[in-house]
């Protein structure tokens, strides 16, 4: 069995393990894995009780990663998540006490409950993969994967993440309500949290890093790059979009598409990879030009699909 084949096998096992805990969330589990394999961060937007925590916990269990969880509140300070330097009387020195971000998988719960200052502290770690405190740079472990959750912003007492910071998340997805059938299964089987402990890791740190490296190497043909560029260009030219997608957004889309292609056991990206990822990758990066109209991200994406020819 080649290395690649065994990695694919491991990824599939991981997928199955997680899916068995999140009934009926095939697509979202796949997207979460794609985000992870593309070394990105995931933003889950949902009401409480939809299985966000279950997803995060089962991911960390199946991946064999150490994980931390931060429940954000409005009185939280950056030091609460990054850590503090405390004077140690014995060694007469400042000793750094790492905060919860120093982990491999971080579940940041209700990130929009905390102040922008604390939010930006977390987002900086996500981008830089390091924490600077008192002039000292503390590197965060690799892989470093953040799953942030937030309640839909119609709720009270929230600080919506600014667009510039939303950009740090590779994808924004929501789990949504289960189907009637799935819900009956959930009700029959009871809470799945108890079963998370029973999950045995199917991946480990080194193999995850190997997968991430392989994903980054997936081939993107000139034809595909052209298509992607046309899509991006359309968001900038069309009057339907408030602003076009940035080059960073384009890179994110390609990165995710590569990981999806790898997950589908392909050595190259096909247009379908990009098309399937348009909504989760772009939904928090695009905004309709007409504020009043109900052109949701969903509609903008279908506009992209309808107007941009894949072949040209």
């Amino acid at each position: 069995m080649s290395v690649t084949a065994s990695l694919h096998q491991a990824a599939e096992d991981t997928f199955n393990a997680i899916e068995s805990l999140l009934l009926g969330k095939h697509e979202q589990v796949e997207l979460a894995l794609v985000t992870l394999f593309a070394s990105g961060h995931l933003l889950l937007e949902d009401l409480p009780g939809m299985g966000k925590t279950t997803l995060a916990q089962s991911l960390s269990a199946a991946l064999g990663l150490e994980h931390q969880r931060i429940q954000f509140t409005s009185d939280m300070l950056p030091a609460d998540i990054l850590g503090v330097s405390i004077f140690d009387q014995q060694s007469s020195d400042f000793r750094f006490h790492p905060g919860p971000v120093f982990t491999q998988l971080l579940l940041a719960d209700e990130i929009n409950r905390t102040t922008p200052k604390t939010q930006s502290a977390l987002l900086e770690v996500m981008e830089e993969q390091q924490v600077s405190i008192d002039g000292e740079v503390h590197r965060v472990d690799h892989p470093f994967f953040v799953i942030a959750t937030q309640n839909p912003q119609t709720q009270f007492g929230t600080f919506p993440l600014p667009e510039s910071q939303l950009d740090r998340f590779l994808m924004r997805i929501s789990l949504g309500y289960p189907s009637a059938e799935t819900e009956r299964d959930i009700l029959t089987q009871g809470d799945s949290r108890g079963r998370i402990a029973a999950v045995r890791p199917t991946l480990d740190r080194s193999r995850l890093l190997a997968i991430q490296a392989e994903c980054a190497k997936v081939h993107a043909a000139p034809d595909l790059i052209d298509y992607l560029q046309r899509l991006l260009q359309f968001t900038r030219d069309s009057e339907a979009f408030h602003t076009g997608v940035s080059p960073r957004g384009g890179l994110a889309l390609l990165r995710a598409a590569r990981a999806r292609a790898w997950l589908k056991q392909r050595r190259y990206v096909v247009p379908e990879d990009i098309q399937e990822l348009l909504l989760p990758v772009l939904s928090h990066r695009i905004r309709s030009a007409d504020e009043r109209s109900d052109l949701s991200a969903q509609r903008l994406v279908s506009l992209l699909l309808d107007e941009v020819d894949v072949i040209r």
């Binding site: 339907a240 990206v269 096909v270 098309q275 699909l305």
Partner: protein, 676 residues
């Protein structure tokens, strides 16, 4: 994205409807406007999500209201306007049921129709301009409907131009070359009923109040000199029959022309006649020849059919002439006839004067004129006259307008044994020096007398000139401005205010513009004939057809050439287009987001016999386009061609099989039914 309306499209649509309807609202009853306002308001509320679309019973009730309104406001004479009101109402109601793009298109086409209908009522420059603006707005709304850009406030100018530009040369060509054919049917427009200043009989005693209307009667453009005001006698009708009260056209007026024996001082001019709904044409006294109409007995110019639309004719007239110096017995008898049992006083007066003037016609005429000059008053508000109307006028009321004077004069002449007749037409006209034409309005309508002098033939005599010479020498509007009947029907007529200074100049300039517009655009007919002659030489049907077909074919060919599907030089693109065509023929249109491989996989579900070729295509395309492997393009081209061929064959087989199955089924059914 295909069927829903953007807010901009909606705004434009409302604007389009309003632009098309606005000119109509001026002539429609107020409730039409209110209905449109209400429907627009409801539409906006619906769009804002505040109200819902009205249910069917409300729409039905609205329709009922519309019909009630129509029945209330219109009758048979105003049928045309009623129809327009119905159309406007229907368009307004359409606002209440616009759900999809198709509905919006219906409204847009209605707007185009409404713009065109406007020309039934009004064809001036202003109307043309209004229509042009409305057309632009409607066109804009049509473009906005298909414009994918959501935010721009204006529809794409380029899109609009692209639609209009190819049509422009065609329009010019059609305008220049298509022969003007008379209307196949005529629409009873409401304006014709009562407006004209001429009628087929004159009975002055029955009129107590004359309304002088500023409505345009005709315009005359002169090639050479223009007659002075006192020579501007526009002759239209000759009334030879007198029944004691009213003068009417002679029914037996034959085709034989009265001959003009000497003619001096020629005027050559073109008249553009406004619709009068009558066949008589005014011409300068006396017409020598008329192009575009006939000269009938007594030298009346008569059109072959009533003037229902603006038309033009060319006339040559002479200012000094001798008309029919020898009168035959029958004419003589007709022009002397009058009921001897009426107006006895007048008859007596005539014989008295004739005796006093010792049989000299000149003296007799002068006698009449001086009599009128003594105590008669020219007025537009004469009293009503009783049975012996001429007697009453001459001896009691002594107040009247041209008809009274002319009628009395003619009777006096006949009673004295001088053949005489009443002539109706127009006198005067406003000269526009800049553009060189005369404008004659209905208030210039006039009546005078012709009597027969054995030495000079028919001689014009205008008794009104004797009592009110200013009527002849001044422009009518200056003269009548202080009379109560003047413009009584038009309290706000611009002519009330523009009798002097720069306003007058401006009015004349606008009028000149209108004249050119009528002459070169609306009545482009004589000029067209000239143009066609100079282009084609003699006009024959074959040449006409060629003149229309060749440029038309060139234009259409050019447009078609630009619109043709471009055949690509790239063999791959050609193969792809072919596959797309075949697939579309089978009902599988490729979506923009679909690769050919994906399309092939979609087709595979129905055309299973072709699935190997389809699979191969999907496989090759994916490898060639997206994998790192080097795959020759030729392979994909081959796969595409193969799929197109295989699919076509299979689809033929399938349809044949279906047809056979259908046939068999029919047979079985027939067999079953006969067996039963």
């Amino acid at each position: 994205m295909n069927n829903w309306l953007t807010p901009r499209a909606l705004n434009w649509q409302l604007a389009a409807l309003w632009a098309a309807v606005l000119p109509h609202l001026l002539i429609l009853p107020l409730w039409s406007a209110l209905m449109l306002v209400a429907c627009t308001g409801v539409r906006i509320q619906i769009y804002r999500g505040i109200w819902r679309f009205p249910p069917w019973y409300i729409k039905l009730a609205l329709l009922g209201l519309l019909w009630l309104g129509l029945l209330y406001s219109f009758d048979r004479d105003t049928l045309m306007r009623g129809t327009v009101a119905l159309l406007v109402g229907g368009s307004a109601f359409k606002l209440l049921e616009i759900h999809t793009r198709r509905d919006a298109l219906v409204l847009i086409y209605l707007s185009y129709l409404l713009i065109a209908i406007q020309f039934l009522f009004e064809q001036g420059i202003l109307a043309g301009l209004c229509a042009l603006i409305a057309f632009a707005v409607v066109m804009g709304s049509q473009v906005a409907l298909f414009d994918p850009r959501l935010r721009a406030p204006l529809p794409s100018l380029r899109g609009t131009l692209k639609l209009i530009l190819p049509a422009l040369p065609m329009m010019v060509l059609l305008f220049l070359l298509i022969p003007r054919i008379g209307p196949l049917w005529s629409v009873p427009l409401d304006t014709g009923a009562a407006a004209t200043g001429l009628s087929d009989s004159v009975s002055p005693g029955d009129i107590s109040s004359m309304t002088r209307s500023d409505e345009l009667a005709f315009r005359a453009g002169f090639d050479g000199p223009v007659p002075t005001n006192s020579d501007r006698y526009w002759r239209a009708l000759v009334y030879s029959d007198f029944d004691g009260r009213s003068w009417s056209l002679s029914k037996r007026l034959g085709p034989v022309l009265e001959t003009v024996e000497t003619a001096v001082g020629r005027y050559s001019y073109e008249i553009i006649m406004e619709p009068s709904h009558r066949p008589w044409l005014p011409v300068l006294d006396v017409p020598l020849s008329v192009q575009g109409a006939d000269l009938r007995g007594a030298r009346q110019a008569v059109s072959k059919s009533p003037i229902d639309k603006r038309s033009s004719y060319r006339v040559t007239s002479a200012s000094r002439f001798e008309l029919q110096s020898v009168l035959n017995a029958r004419s003589r008898a007709r022009n002397l006839a009058f009921p001897t049992d009426q107006n006895l006083q007048t008859q007596a007066l005539a014989s008295q004067w004739w005796r006093e003037s010792e049989g000299q016609l000149d003296l007799f005429i002068r006698r009449i004129a001086s009599h009128f000059n003594q105590s008669f008053v020219y007025t537009l508000q004469p009293p009503l006259l009783g049975a012996n109307s001429v007697d009453q006028f001459l001896f009691e009321s002594q107040r009247g307008f041209c008809g009274h004077f002319a009628s009395a004069t003619a009777l006096l002449l006949r009673a004295a044994g001088v053949p005489a007749r009443l002539v109706g037409g127009y006198q005067g006209g406003e000269y526009n020096a800049g553009a060189g034409y005369l404008t004659v309005r209905q208030w210039d309508a006039h009546a005078w007398v012709e009597y027969h002098d054995p030495e000079r033939g028919w001689v014009r005599f205008d008794p009104t000139a004797a009592v009110a010479p200013e009527r002849i020498e001044q422009a009518a509007e200056d003269l009548f401005a202080n009379q109560p009947g003047f413009l009584a029907d038009r309290p706000l007529s611009p002519l009330r205010f523009t009798n002097s200074g720069w306003l007058l100049e401006a009015r004349r300039a606008i009028d000149a513009m209108n004249f050119s517009w009528h002459r070169w655009v609306l009545n482009y007919q004589n000029q067209q004939t000239d143009l066609l002659r100079s282009l084609l030489g003699e006009i024959t049907p074959v040449r006409m057809a060629l003149a229309l077909l060749i440029p038309g074919a060139l234009i259409m060919g050019f447009v078609g050439f630009n619109l043709r599907p471009r055949r690509s030089k790239d063999a791959l693109v050609r193969a792809q287009q072919k596959f797309e065509r075949v697939a579309a023929g089978l009902g599988y249109r490729r979506q923009p987001s679909e690769t050919f491989g994906e399309l092939a996989r979609r087709i595979k579900t129905q055309y299973s016999d072709s699935s190997p070729a389809l699979d191969l295509l999907a496989f090759i395309e994916q490898r060639m386009r997206y994998s790192p492997e080097e795959v020759d393009r030729a392979e994909l081209i081959r796969a595409l061609k193969r799929v197109a061929k295989v699919l076509r064959l299979e689809s033929m087989r399938v349809s044949r099989r279906n047809a056979l199955a259908g046939l068999k089924e029919t047979k079985e059914r027939d067999a079953g039914s006969t067996g039963r």
